[in-house]
Symmetry: C2
Subunit: 321 residues, 2 copies
C-alpha cells in the first residue's frame, strides 16, 4: 500500500546526538511532523525556534518540521512575528510531563495570549491533565477543555495524546476541539505497564489506561472520525533514564508497520488518520511524499542509540520500503 | 504505648544472606509472623519446612515463625503429618506473583486437599487474583472466594493483602472468610507508583489501587473489624531486581512506626488489628511479647543490605524501643 504524505502530529525529537539517532525513523516514515518544544531551555522565542528548526533540517531529508513553541505570556508583537513560522503553541499544565516544570500554572494567565492566537489563527496544543489521581487526570481535565472551547470558539484546540475515552466525546460537542491519538494509547493498557513484571519502557504520561479506554479509542480511530489525527508522542529517553522512571515511549521506529497491522487492509481510514484529517483540519501545506508499505516480515529494532524502542524486537507483517 | 504480642500475618523472609539482613526488623517489632513459602524450590514438604524453620529460628530471638506450606496435591498422610507444624497452606493462582509459577492452575484440582484441610482445621491462605485486567483481578476473584467459602463452610479462608475494597464486603457475608491488610495497601495508591516519575519501589502484586480502595480499606481497619488482621506482605528484593520490575515492598522496618501514626492514639483498635483479631480468629498460641513504641522522631533506614525499604529515609513521629 502507498500512503500519501503521512504526518505525525506530535513528535519529540530532542537535540544533539539523540536527535541524530532518532530522526531517521520519523523522516523515513513521515512527510512532516509537529515538533514539540519542551527542551531545556524550552523553544519559546524566535532564536531558539530557528536554531532548532535548522538542526532538524540539517539532520533529515524530505521531511518538514511543523514547529511548536512552548506557552508563556507572549506579547502581541512576539506572536505576530512567530505566527508564520509555527504550527501551534503547546500548553503543559505545570509539573505534569517531561521538562514541563515551566508549564503554565493557571491557564487564565495566558488568556490574553489565547485571544491573540485566536485572532491570528494559531492553534493551541494541550497536554490535558489535572493534578488529581493519576487515572482521573484526563477525565477531570475535560471541563478545562470545555471552558477553553467555549471561551475561544474560533481557536482550534488540540487535545493531545488522548488516553481517556471520555475526552473523545467532546469532539462532536465542540467544533473547535481536535484530538491526537498515539500508537501506545491505541494499542496498550496498564497491563503492559504493571500487569506482569513492572515494565518501565511502557511508562508514559498520560499513562496508558484501561481496556475500556483503549477499546473506545480504537473504535473512534477505526470510525475514521475527521477530528482524530495520529500524533505519536514518540519521546526517546536513554534506557538508564527510563529505569529511573522517565515518562515516554519511543515509538517512532514501529509506527507505520504497527498501524498497518491495526488497520488490517482498511487503507482509506488509515490514510485519513495518518494524514488527510490533519491536512484538512489545519489546511496544512506539506510537500507531497509517498510512503510505500509492503507485506513482508520486518523486525523492530532492539535498540536505537541509547534508547529501547516500543515493541523492540517484535516481528511485524509489514515493512516500510 | 505498649503493644501486646504483635503478629505479622503475612511475611516473606527469603533465605540465606537476605534472610539474615531482613529478619531483625520483624523480630524486633513482632512476637510472631506467618512465614510465606514461595521460595525456589517452594516449602512444600516436611524436610524443607523443618530446615526453613530452623534457619529462621537460628537467625532470630524471641520470635515465633508460624509456617505456611505451598499448595500442591498433598495426600491425606502428608497433611496429617504436617498439620501440627504449619499454620496454613498458601494458594497462589498460577503465574500471578513472585515465584508462584508452580501455583495451582485450577483450584478444583486441590478440592480433595481442601476437604482434608477442613477436617484437620488447617486454614487456607489465598493470593486472590484472576488473570484479567490488572486493576480488576482482585474484584474478579471475589466469586472464587465466595465459591470456596460456600463449598468449604468449615474451612477458614484468608483473603491475603486485600487491595480492592469490594473484597472486604465479603467478610460479613461469609463466616469463614478473613482478610489481611498490608501497610502499603492501607496507605498508598497508584499515584505512589505511576503518579509522578515511575517508582518501581512501590510496585507490588496485587498492585496498590485507587484512593477509593485505599479509603475503604482505611475505614474498615479503623472500624476495628474483627476479621481484618495485619499482614505486611513485606517482600524484600535487591534494588537491582526492583529496577528490573520485581513485585513487592520491603515494609518490615517501618511497620509499627507507620501504623502508630495511622492509628493516631487509638491504641485499642491498633492492638486488635496487630494481634488480638488474629489470635482470636485462629486460636493462636504465641508466647507473649510486649513491644513498646515511644513518641520520638525516628528516621526509616535508607537501605538494608541490598534492599530499599518502604518509606526509606522518612521521619516518623514514633519509634520502636
Amino acid at each position: 500500500m502507498i500512503l500519501n504524505t503521512p504526518i505525525d502530529m506530535h513528535l519529540h525529537l530532542r537535540e544533539g546526538k539523540m536527535l541524530k539517532d532518532v530522526i531517521p525513523y520519523s523522516a523515513k516514515q513521515f512527510a512532516a511532523a509537529v515538533i514539540m518544544p519542551n527542551l531545556v531551555p524550552p523553544v519559546d522565542n524566535r532564536q531558539r525556534l530557528e536554531s532548532y528548526k535548522e538542526e532538524i533540517l540539517a539532520n533529515s531529508e524530505n521531511f518538514t518540521p511543523l514547529m511548536n513553541v512552548f506557552m508563556r505570556e507572549y506579547t502581541e508583537d512576539e506572536l505576530l512575528d512567530l505566527a508564520e513560522d509555527i504550527f501551534a503553541i503547546k500548553l503543559y499544565p505545570a509539573g505534569i510531563t517531561t521538562n514541563s516544570e515551566g508549564g503554565v500554572k493557571s491557564i487564565e494567565n495566558v488568556y490574553p495570549v489565547l485571544e491573540i492566537m485566536q485572532e491570528l489563527n494559531i492553534p493551541l496544543s494541550v497536554h490535558g491533565e489535572t493534578n488529581g489521581f493519576v487515572l482521573d487526570r484526563e477525565r477531570e481535565f475535560a471541563v478545562v477543555y470545555e471552558k477553553l472551547a467555549r471561551d475561544f470558539p474560533k481557536l482550534k484546540i488540540i487535545m493531545e495524546h488522548v488516553g481517556s475515552a471520555e475526552l473523545l466525546d467532546l469532539l462532536d460537542r465542540y467544533d473547535n476541539l481536535y484530538a491526537t491519538v498515539t500508537l501506545h494509547h491505541l494499542l496498550l493498557t496498564l497491563d503492559d505497564l504493571i500487569g506482569g513484571a513492572l515494565n518501565p519502557h511502557n511508562f508514559c504520561k498520560p499513562v496508558i489506561k484501561t481496556p475500556k479506554d483503549r477499546d473506545a479509542i480504537q473504535k473512534f480511530v477505526k470510525s475514521g472520525h475527521k477530528k482524530v489525527m495520529f500524533g505519536s508522542d514518540s519521546a526517546p529517553h536513554p534506557i538508564k533514564n527510563k529505569l529511573k522512571g522517565a515518562a515516554g515511549l519511543f515509538s517512532a521506529p514501529v509506527i507505520l508497520p504497527a498501524l498497518a497491522e491495526f488497520f488490517d487492509g482498511d487503507i482509506e481510514t488509515f490514510q485519513k488518520f495518518i494524514s488527510d484529517n490533519a491536512r484538512e483540519n489545519f489546511n496544512l501545506n506539506v510537500p507531497e511524499k509517498k510512503v510505500e508499505i509492503i507485506e513482508e516480515e520486518w523486525t523492530a529494532p532492539y535498540i536505537v542509540g541509547e534508547v529501547k524502542p516500543m515493541f523492540a524486537g517484535r516481528v511485524f507483517r509489514y515493512k516500510v520500503l
